[in-house]
Amino acid sequence: MPIEPRSVVDTLNHASATIADTLHTAGTKAVEEGGKFNFTELLDHLKDSHTVDLPFTHIDLPHFPPIVIGGLSIDLSITKHVFFLWVAGLLLAIVSISAARRYKKSLVPKGFTNALETAVIFIRDEVVLENMGKGGLPYLPYLLTTFFFILFMNLLGLIPFGITSTSNIAVTAGLAAIAFVMIQVAAIRAQGLAKYLAHLTGGVPWFLWPITIPVEFIGLFTKPFALCLRLFANMTGGHMVVLSLIGLIFIFQSYILSPVPVVFAAGISLVEILVAFLQAYIFTILTALFMGVGIRAAEHHDNNH
């Protein structure tokens, strides 16, 4: 029995808002192709694009001519993921600044400020002080921003028509690049440049340096690289599972079976809420841990001298 994608969209809009967003794109494409369903095109939803889908309409984002530096051409056009990156940043700014303003009136937190405060205290006590000691407090604003920015980006993908920017590896690579710089900065500021470079030798006799220095040097990059891939894979994975489950409806082409993938997809969406928090936390705590290694190493040296 052939189905009309539009009516499926209408039904599911009530069931799961997240899924509805996906189906909107998929359904439109299916109609354009004369009712034929192409699963790979459904997954295109995860890809970056130059349009932002809204209910009943869409916004075309501006194209900029690519800038060519050397052999590399850089396209600085505002894409869908950049747009949602900014949406997340803007939301975070509004929420956190208004919370900070409220403290000026009274030290007693109220309503949403309570939730934000709990997270801030958690990052301060359990992430920064636990892994970096008191020397980590100057980096607290950076780690707070990392946590909340990633969290907001992750959560945006769970609301209707929202997109998770962190499911793009270029975005997580940018975050990891900053984490890389911060880890080195923390180590150099705590130990001094000379000791930082001395650490790269691994503390072995000079004739082993040709082995240890490349290993230690690569080691510096593996940590942020792992951060980048972990966040990207986790945020892409959940969406892919949801899309795959919804895709089953189109593959089976059956009304009767449709509730099953919908229920499963709704369950996965719930898990994704957890994953959104978990991945933001993991990215933050690992960054703090790597920065803490450099800071602790300096303290260790001071104790020995």
């Binding site: 900070a100 950076y142 707070l144 270029a170 940018g174 975050l175």
Partner: protein
């Protein structure tokens, strides 16, 4: 999906740095400061409460001590005054008893004296009366010699006292 768009990475880095700059100044700094301020406030309030409690306990102890001391003093005073009263009582009673004794003795002596003088007087009067009576009788029948003999006999019959 794994193709890395450098433009997007650059946008991410730029946006993140701008966000850190803005939020550090307008959100995290005041927020963290407010939290630290509140923690200090709570800590100092707790310390103050602790101090007040220990002060109150000390005061209570002091009060109890002074009450106990007052009780002790009262007991001592009570005992002392009882003793004093006992002594005074004994003194007064003793004095009274002595006075009564003296009075009794004096009264006895006076009575004795009165009895003696009365007896002497009585004896003289009796003798005179007897002589007068005898004179009257003898005037009629007896001479002086007989008269004396009769009186002596009479007197000899009188009790010795």
């Amino acid at each position: 999906m794994l193709d890395l768009n450098p433009g997007l990475t650059i946008w991410t880095i730029v946006s993140f740095i701008v966000l850190v700059a803005i939020l550090s100044k307008y959100a995290w700094k005041p927020l963290v400061q407010a939290l630290a301020e509140r923690e200090d406030k709570i800590r100092s309030a707790l310390e103050q409460a602790d101090r007040a409690r220990s002060e109150a306990a000390e005061l209570l102890k002091k009060n109890e001590e002074s009450i106990a001391r007052a009780e002790q003093e009262y007991q001592i005073m009570l005992r002392e005054s009882k003793l004093l009263a006992e002594k005074m009582k004994e003194e007064i009673v003793g004095k009274a008893r002595q006075q009564a004794k003296q009075e009794l003795q004096r009264a006895t002596e006076e009575i004795q004296r009165n009895v003696d003088s009365a007896r002497k007087e009585l004896r003289g009067e009796v003798a005179d009366l007897a002589i007068k009576v005898a004179e009257k009788i003898l005037d009629e029948s007896l001479d002086a010699q007989k008269q004396k003999k009769i009186v002596d006999t009479f007197l000899g019959q009188l009790p010795r006292n």
